[in-house]
């Protein structure tokens, strides 16, 4: 169903009798595995959903990545499996505890207990000119977080963003929320592609953007 190419290190593999998106690495959350490949469930991962839906992510494998809203490491562990150095920012201690365990066996995954709204607090660790920012924070002010973190992104880098409508405003129509967020994003980014992730994640918009 997808025309966009998957990055090197992400493949469709036969796992438990089904063809599934997968990466190679130590298992993290009890996902099914086969021959060292771990199934990547698009229903549990916005980025996985974006791959399944054929977004042009610009990722080809081996990139330097800044991941915002890493939670317990479900998605970012797959990212670290196919990307290069991967910085994972999460501000809640509980999920960060699991994130640390996911990062421990991955030597290019760097967990950071930080608030994505204050990049100064991790700019002394996260390098400049990363190739991609992946963001899934699902809290109010999602576009503002992406704008503030634009300083980390290389000029030709990609922002891969999931916006959850209900995190901004539970009463407003998702379309209205998305429009507002995209307007805010345009302060720092040029929008390359947008699409609803509803097949996997209700009321979420996937966005691919690049710095202006």
């Amino acid at each position: 169903m997808t025309d966009a190419e998957l990055p090197a290190g992400v493949e469709r593999r036969e796992i438990d009798g089904e063809t599934r998106l997968a990466t190679r690495g130590p298992p993290v959350y009890g996902e099914p595995t086969a021959d060292g490949w771990r199934a990547w469930d698009p229903g549990r991962s916005k980025l996985g959903g974006m791959f399944e839906l054929g977004f042009e992510t610009g990722l080809s494998g081996g990139e330097t990545v800044l991941y915002l809203g890493a939670a317990s490491g479900t998605t970012v562990s797959h990212v670290a499996d196919f990307a290069g150095p991967t910085y994972a920012v999460e501000f809640a201690p509980r999920p960060a505890r699991d994130l640390v365990e996911a990062a421990d066996p991955r030597d290019r995954l760097f967990p950071l207990l930080k608030d994505a709204r204050t990049p100064e607090r991790y700019a002394h660790v996260v390098e400049s000119d990363v190739d991609a920012i992946v963001q899934d924070v699902a809290t109010r002010g999602q576009a503002a977080v992406a704008v503030r973190n634009a300083r980390f992104l290389a000029d030709d880098g990609r922002l891969l963003l999931a916006i959850k409508a209900r995190s901004e405003d539970v009463t407003a129509a998702p379309e209205t929320v998305f429009e507002g967020a995209l307007d805010r994003l345009r302060e720092a980014y040029e929008i390359l592609e947008t699409g609803r992730l509803d097949r996997f994640h209700e009321d979420h918009l996937g966005v691919v953007a690049t710095p202006r």
Partner: protein
């Protein structure tokens, strides 16, 4: 100093020793910098670290960053979760204050409302009815407004209870599962924190909250209390009186272990919960076998 050194000065590795002089990442100062450092703008830290001699190569740099970030974040998580136990203590104390104040104020509001309106009922529910009335004149307005404050306080108490339900399992997963979130929070509050609770002997945990009774006992005026606040736990309350001492001792023993696991490792430990269930089944089986009054106080700490 070269420009490169100036630039590198803001990096997390600035205080670190050069490559090869010590175990990579095994440096407390580096971890502290990751946790507390800042920089206005990101830079090519891997390149600067190599130029400044901190790392031999980019690969070496990333190895050291991995080690330091995993350790620093693990420590930061522990520290934050420990700090969260203090928040839980505030929440549970605030909840009790709200409840007590709401009840006190409800009495006053009911008394006043009774003098103004027919059929005013006492208690929070009474206040709720009064708060919905349309007041007429300044005095009625005040009485109705006072009743509304009572309703607000009661709602705040409920909201605090919900917060405790949600946060206690994050602060102390085993203790919250075993005791229920509210009792877990109360035990932590009575001890003054999760760490102090984890360090108490189980005999003390058993009588936490029964300080008055314990004092009476120590001054020779009363028998030693068998349980403190853990009396509210189903395992104690719903055990027949002659077995309550054993039940309280078994429960306190496991609660103490749960607090220790929560403080020192933070992981859920199923065996603890199983062991307690089995122990309780044994104690309760005594009642069924008609073995009345057996063995209270002859059991060791479970």
């Amino acid at each position: 100093m070269s420009d490169t050194d100036d630039d590198a000065a803001e990096g997390w590795f600035a205080s670190g020793s050069p490559a090869g002089t010590e175990a990579a990442g095994g440096d407390g100062a580096l971890r502290a910098r990751i946790a507390a450092g800042e920089a206005d703008e990101p830079r090519d830290w891997p390149g600067l670290a190599v130029d400044s001699g901190f790392a031999e190569s980019r690969d070496d740099y990333y190895d050291r960053l991995h080690e330091a970030s995993v350790t620093a974040t693990r420590e930061a998580v522990r520290e934050r979760e420990r700090a969260d136990d203090k928040q839980l203590v505030h929440a549970v104390r605030a909840m009790d204050d709200c409840e007590r104040t709401a009840n006190e104020l409800a009495e006053r509001a009911a008394e006043w409302a009774g003098s103004l309106f027919d059929g005013a009922e006492p208690g929070i529910e009474g206040a709720r009815a009064v708060a919905e009335r349309d007041p007429d004149g300044e005095l009625e307005r005040r009485a109705v407004s006072l009743a509304a404050r009572v309703v607000d306080l009661a709602a705040e108490r409920d909201a605090l209870a919900e917060t405790i339900e949600r946060t206690a399992p994050a602060v102390a997963p085993n203790l919250a599962e075993m005791a229920g979130p509210e009792l877990a929070a109360r035990l932590i509050a009575l001890a003054g924190g999760l760490e102090t609770l984890a360090k108490k002997p189980s005999g003390t945990v058993q009588v936490l909250g029964a300080e008055d009774a314990l004092f009476a006992h120590l001054s020779g005026r009363a028998p030693s209390p068998k349980h403190g606040i853990i009396y509210t736990h189903e395992y104690v309350r719903n055990t027949r009186p002659e077995d309550r001492g054993s039940a309280a001792r078994a429960l306190a023993g496991k609660l103490t272990l749960a607090a220790r696991v929560d403080h020192y490792s933070g992981e859920r430990r199923e065996t603890l919960h199983e062991e307690l269930r089995e122990r309780m089944a044994t104690i309760r089986a005594r009642a069924e076998s008609g073995n009345a009054g057996a063995a209270d106080d002859t059991e060791g700490d479970a």
